[in-house]
Amino acid sequence: MDQALIPEGLKRCPLPVFGLWVLVLLAIIGWGVYAGAVVLLQALNVTGLNDYFGFGFYITIDLAIIALGAGAFFSGFLYYALSRYFPALKELHKIINLAVIVGFVCYTGALAVLLLEIGQPLRGWFGYWHPNVHSMLTEVIFCISCYAIVLIIEYVPIVFENRKLDAIKSVHIFGHTLHELMAIFALTGTFLSFFHQGSLGGVAGVLFARPFAYRTGFFVWPWTFFLFILSAIASGPAFTALVCRAMEAVTRKKLVDRSVYELLARIVGGLLLFYIILKIIDTLYWGLVMAPEFGLSLADFYKAPYGMWLLIAEILICGVLPAIVLNIPQARKSDAIVFGAFFLTCTGIVINRFVMTIQAIAVPVMPFDRWQVYVPTVYEWAPGIAMLAYCVLVISLSYRYLPLFPREKQLNAT
């Protein structure tokens, strides 16, 4: 029925099946939107947040999704900027559209959740009007919203490649014009993105009165600034690859050449190794030098349910382990190992974002404070899940109606 909209020569599932799928996603989104509306109308008291946990699920999922969405800018950076010097990177061309879309959904989704997070959403624009240049959050507000606009601009030409839209001449030319400018946008995006991935790290790192989060740094940027960039660029491509792999599994088609995954595995492996070494150094310095200066020891930072297992899971299991396997060429030959390692990488980054947000404030600072435990309510995870459903929805629609994968036709020619 919607054949006319589907890219030429590609096979898609029957419309009713797809419709059902969309309905399911819409139902989840509706549920989240309802929860979000309740938050906006009844105020944040419906959440599990309080004066001890000023940040919670919303910020955690935002930080995580933005890190995972980093595939967009980093792939773009590699492809548009570096492939001139490293031709091997040209392979990324095969997955760059998906990377952009993943980035687009992650960022726009995160922005929507961020709107719920602030107590006075109508004043969200104050960040532009009364900016505090010292605040990492000002940087975040600036960069994320600017980069979201960039991603929209990057996404639009992909949308315009739809068969029907592309048939309209002005749309075609408009899209084409944008396409010509894409490298500029990609590089602007890269700049913004590097910056705000860093600022997001800075959000925790500058809390100089919070020993768990605080880090010394370079110039105005705490080390977390750089660690967040590194971890984001390491995990972003891994996430894009995982999404692509998931799409392959769902559609039971090959969408990219295995060489792309292998390239990504090399990139992720290299970056992750670099990141995890720095992270370990950072952790050691923090635990053994900085904490004692504040009169604390590493053990003071971990208490059930926020136990030492978080540190082990984040650094060893989800950091060191994938970093090692992804750097072994033989291991990269196995799909199970590669995607397992990607998965661990992404999990590690999610744990990291959780730890830097929630555990950072669960740890008592005044000796007479009591440990507190944060339990998000349905009004927090419903919008979170809906945001994921929104991501899936946009990706599904894009996949169905847009020519995302240049090699799809060849790879599935039977």
Binding site: L44, L49, D51, Y52, I118, S135, V206, G295, M366
Partner: protein, 235 residues
């Protein structure tokens, strides 16, 4: 500000006076202490021993108006400059109509001096009559905290100006210090070496909370008990 914990009897008059002076809202159930708005929070510190060696003391905690170089922990992070430190008088103010309620400052403050308006502040109808016109009521979704009764400073300055005196040399007392029945709270200008607070801050009993964090709180405490000193910072 200097608070003498040896004199303080935890009577909470300071905190109640602060609520009245500053139009602090209250709710039917205030037992979720993590969501209760109290600018002057009264902590109970315990010596950790068992009966009958057990002992406790109360510790009233306003905002510390941190004097750390360049910025206070909270003012450093506020994305919209809703909370800033007035470098003339050292007061960390909070401009309520500008606050977007991101709560980053809550996360930044190690003293839990900041409270968020989780609900619309409402008063039983007759009690709206006792709201002070000198302090604006807050709205839901913004943060608030002790302002060192900033409005009293402004009033004192205005009076000084009208009386032809230098507004920059005025002294005033916040509501909590006024109310304290044991005169445990002394307020003044720490920069003026002759002031009572400056002298008390040098008392051997004096300490500050979390001195190791270098937040440079402008609230000093006095206690004759070593265990209290010990509890003021991580060892």
């Amino acid at each position: 500000m200097v608070i003498d914990l040896d004199k303080c009897t935890g009577c909470m008059a300071c905190s109640v006076a602060c609520q009245a002076e500053n139009n602090i809202s209250f709710r039917v159930d205030e037992t979720d202490k993590l969501r209760s708005i109290t600018w002057m929070e009264i902590y109970k510190l315990e010596n950790g021993k068992d009966y009958p060696e057990y002992q406790f003391t109360y510790l009233p905690r306003p905002c510390m108006h941190c004097d750390s170089p360049h910025h206070s922990p909270c003012t450093f992070v506020c994305p919209v400059n809703a909370t800033t430190r007035d470098e003339n008088n050292g007061i960390v103010t909070h401009i309520v109509p500008r606050c977007i309620g991101c709560r980053y400052c809550i996360v930044a403050c190690p003293y839990h001096a900041r409270d968020f308006n989780w609900w619309d502040p409402t008063w039983p109808k007759p009690m709206e009559q006792m709201l002070s016109p000198e302090v604006s009521t807050r709205m839901r979704g913004v943060v608030e905290k002790c302002t060192f009764c900033h409005q009293r400073l402004l009033k004192a300055r205005t009076r000084a100006y009208h009386e032809g005196q230098d507004p920059n040399t005025v002294t005033y007392n916040p509501a909590c210090a006024d109310a304290c029945p044991t005169k445990a709270i002394t307020f003044g200008n720490l920069m003026d070496a002759q002031s009572d607070v400056a002298k008390l801050a040098k008392d051997p009993r004096a300490f500050r909370i979390l001195a190791k964090l270098k937040t440079e709180p402008k609230v000093y405490y006095l206690s004759r008990y070593q265990w209290v000193h010990k509890l003021s910072d991580n060892a």
